[in-house]
């Protein structure tokens, strides 16, 4: 069993409940949606311990408690004070055990992974549909800097993705793009526990990108960012990532710091910023987005009550959007409430999954607020996009 390697950590849980917090809605989106103690980190450690001790086994019914975790890392952050347990790693190991022991992931999760493996993206888009956003944009094959949008940005956020590329190119970055050759980074595989397939996927991908002369990857998707930067080296037993990998927030920060784009147009908006879990808590990248926002003339950054290490998940993590869409929606609406309390008219973030989920929450609740990527606000200020894209009633053609 994969959880064996975490035995010491599992036994280290001292049952303090720091991970659970003061309220269902305080920290852990899983207990917010599922309520039972078995949906907290403490509960999961008890389950894992019982499995190690042979008192419990992986079962179909148990899946909801393990695959219903958003992998947001909020509990792990809290446990730094207590036992320093890597709850995310243990949850992923449990998911892998489900697959290894033949119980499998929840049906929708399994489907997502097989669709991705067969079609190259999680939406089963045709190649032409998946690269539509790039029509008319000139890329520089072999430049060594690969722009990697990821499935969500390609499929759902065509306009946003185009705008980001325009910003990057206007700032002088020479971007390569895989075009028809682009495939998903593989995240669905390890999120749903299919580690064996993930390893092969990573191996093939690295080979392909090396052959193309890729030295650096720039991506707007925190999952893709972590895939190339963390998961691939882990899966392939490498000490270093095979390429330099940067998230778009780091690149935008560089653009602002080096004044590579004139940000002349004032954007007189109250903006709040949502920390995506996978660049925030996972990687400590809290300042990049904020630095960019505060460099834009006119923008007034108003923070939510829960930010940085304590930010509440958007509901998009852990594959929940596909496996448990109702839970995912509930969490996104809770996070949206935080944003609405600030009275901001723009909820900015830097993750396509967060953007998707929070946009759904905004639509569903008819919220007077636009969910935007930080790059869009930069684009407006740099005169590369119309300010209408930041209005709550703006709907792109995507």
């Amino acid at each position: 069993m994969k959880i064996e390697q975490y035995r010491d950590m599992i036994y280290a849980c001292g049952r303090c409940e720091f991970c659970r917090g003061t309220e269902f809605s305080d920290r852990c989106p899983q207990i917010f949606t599922q309520r039972w103690e078995s949906s907290t980190a403490r509960g999961r450690m008890a389950i894992a311990r019982a499995i190690l001790e042979g008192k419990l086994d992986y079962s179909k019914d148990l899946r909801e408690r393990v695959f219903g975790c958003f992998l947001c890392g909020r509990c792990r952050e809290e446990c730094k004070k207590a036992a320093k347990i890597d709850i995310v790693a243990i949850t992923k190991a449990m998911r892998a055990d489900f697959v290894d022991r033949g119980v499998g992931a929840p049906e929708e999760g399994g489907k997502m992974t097989s669709t991705m493996a067969q079609k190259g993206n999680i939406f089963a888009d045709s190649t032409s549909e998946h690269t539509k956003w790039a029509q008319g944009i000139k890329f520089q094959k072999g430049s060594g800097t690969l722009f990697f949008p990821g499935c969500l940005a390609s499929h759902r956020f065509k306009e946003k993705t185009r705008i980001l590329v325009q910003v990057l190119q206007a700032a002088g970055y020479k971007l390569d793009f895989l075009g028809d050759d682009q495939r998903c980074c593989g995240t669905p595989m390890w999120v749903t526990g299919d580690v064996r397939a993930a390893k092969q996927w990573a191996q093939d991908y690295v080979k392909k990108l090396k052959a193309r002369g890729v030295k650096e990857i720039i991506t707007p998707c925190p999952s893709c960012f972590r895939a190339f930067d963390e998961e691939y080296p882990q899966l392939l037993g490498l000490k270093e990532p095979p390429f330099k990998v940067r998230h778009s927030s780091q690149v935008l920060e560089e653009i602002v710091a080096q004044k590579r784009l004139p940000l002349k147009t004032s954007v007189p908006k109250v903006v709040t910023y949502h920390d995506p879990c996978e660049i925030g808590r996972y990687r400590g990248m809290y300042d990049q987005g904020r630095k960019v926002l505060t460099a834009i003339p006119g923008v007034q950054l108003k923070e939510m009550s829960r930010i940085r290490e304590q930010a509440f998940c958007c509901g998009g993590g852990g594959g929940l959007k596909i496996m448990y869409p109702d839970y995912s929606q509930q969490v996104s609406e809770e996070r949206l409430r935080d944003a609405l309390q600030t009275t901001a008219s723009v909820l900015a973030t830097m993750c396509p999954a967060c953007e998707l989920n929070l946009t759904h929450a905004a639509y569903k609740t008819d919220a007077p607020l636009k969910v935007a990527d930080v790059a869009e606000i930069v684009a407006v200020s740099a005169g590369l996009a119309d300010k209408a894209i930041l209005e709550p009633d703006y709907i792109s053609d995507d």
């Binding site: 036994y11 280290a12 849980c13 001292g14 049952r15 303090c16 409940e17 720091f18 659970r20 917090g21 003061t22 309220e23 269902f24 305080d26 309520r35 039972w36 103690e37 078995s38 907290t40 403490r42 509960g43 999961r44 008890a46 389950i47 019982a50 008192k55 419990l56 079962s59 019914d61 148990l62 408690r65 809290e78 004070k81 207590a82 036992a83 320093k84």
Partner: protein
Amino acid sequence: MVDVPKVTQLLKQAVDPKRVTDRDFDIVAYSRDLSPARQKMATHIVMPESREEVRGILRVASDNNVPVYIRGGGTSHWDAYLPQEPGILLDMSLMNQILEINDRDLTATIQPNCTWAKLDQELRKKGLTYLCSEAGGPAMTIGGSVMKAGGGPHSTAKFGFHGNQDIITLEMVLPNGDIVETGSAAWPSAGKFKRQCVGPDLAGLFIGAEGILGICTEITLRIRPATDVKERMVAVMKTLDDVIELGHFVNRCVGDEYLQGFYLWVDPNSPETFLVMMDVFGYEREIVDYRKTRILEKIKELGGTLGDRAPADDYYGRILTGLTDIFTAGVWHFFGSGSLRIDDIKFLYRVWREELIEKRGYKKAGFGGQVLPRDWLAFMVTNYREPAEWEEIIRISDEINEIVLNGPVAPYGIGGRDGLRPFLEKRDTGYYRLLKTIKKAVDPKDILQRGIFVRKEDLI
């Protein structure tokens, strides 16, 4: 034997079926507490939403002779909610609302599973506070604290344990389903503003009873304006006698007015270093400064050394958010603990040093305590590795508990068979006899918390 499917069905009629589970993986998540108590599995977990649902669950339990256990925040550490025999465990989490904050009468009425942290957040928005004393962190609930009469390092030198004076009224569901109130709430047309009212103080019957006499469904407590001015101090005293003198100074000459939090810590690697963390708070800088000066003078007079206040700021500042590095060297066990006279701390210290460290060679447990008005709540605490060191720690702590409780120490937190219950039941005290009489009267079938505090066999 509990007929699980039958009881599941009945419980699903009493509450929304979504709030009943008999699945092993759900139950296992509730099967341990903060202590080394053995794992104990419930047959069902139920999440009631109202007093009426609590009553409905009790009816099912009583009709089928299934015991009911009560879990608040689940952060206690003496086997105090773990099912001593197969039974229903109530997860009270959904009863967590703040019902009223009355800033005229300075009272707050809450459902029992409202956490201290949640209440404090709301109170502070209005410039008010309660000043929770226990250091149990974010998930610790008011109901759990009060039902076990909790007391911790913060503000106890002034206010004592929770329930001492700050609890005004309680609403309790008795094992027979009757819903009763205490204090002024007992007089329905009067309201919730006073503890000692109508007749005997019946709240005291439930406070500290660890749920064996009733399930708490509502609490009204005293709140106060937030105390904005604070001064924290750290001192190292040369001897335990000096600590005792300081304790007396706090409690004798100046009442509880000078020092509101007083926490002693002795590290096992340095058993002669008596570290004291102190907390003074108040409404006016002048008063706080004056109190601080008096304390500093006393420390000086006793030959103590003042240290950097940062550790005290950090410690007291984390009461509701979570202390740091608590399990780095293993999980926790508190033992050798209880209430004792200020002078008697020497006894407990001697047991710790001679019996634990010197005779048994166990050097991992620290020694600590806090001064309450006119007494100590003191303890030994260790980190140990589960499961490897479990047997050793149980053996040693049992031996130490025996010595300690044969001395001038009254136990604090009784719990079940893996808590201090065995020490209580083997002493034929009038207290235990009275408790059994009351328990038999209100809970003739021994439904509530069966085996906790009172041994089942002792009720027959």
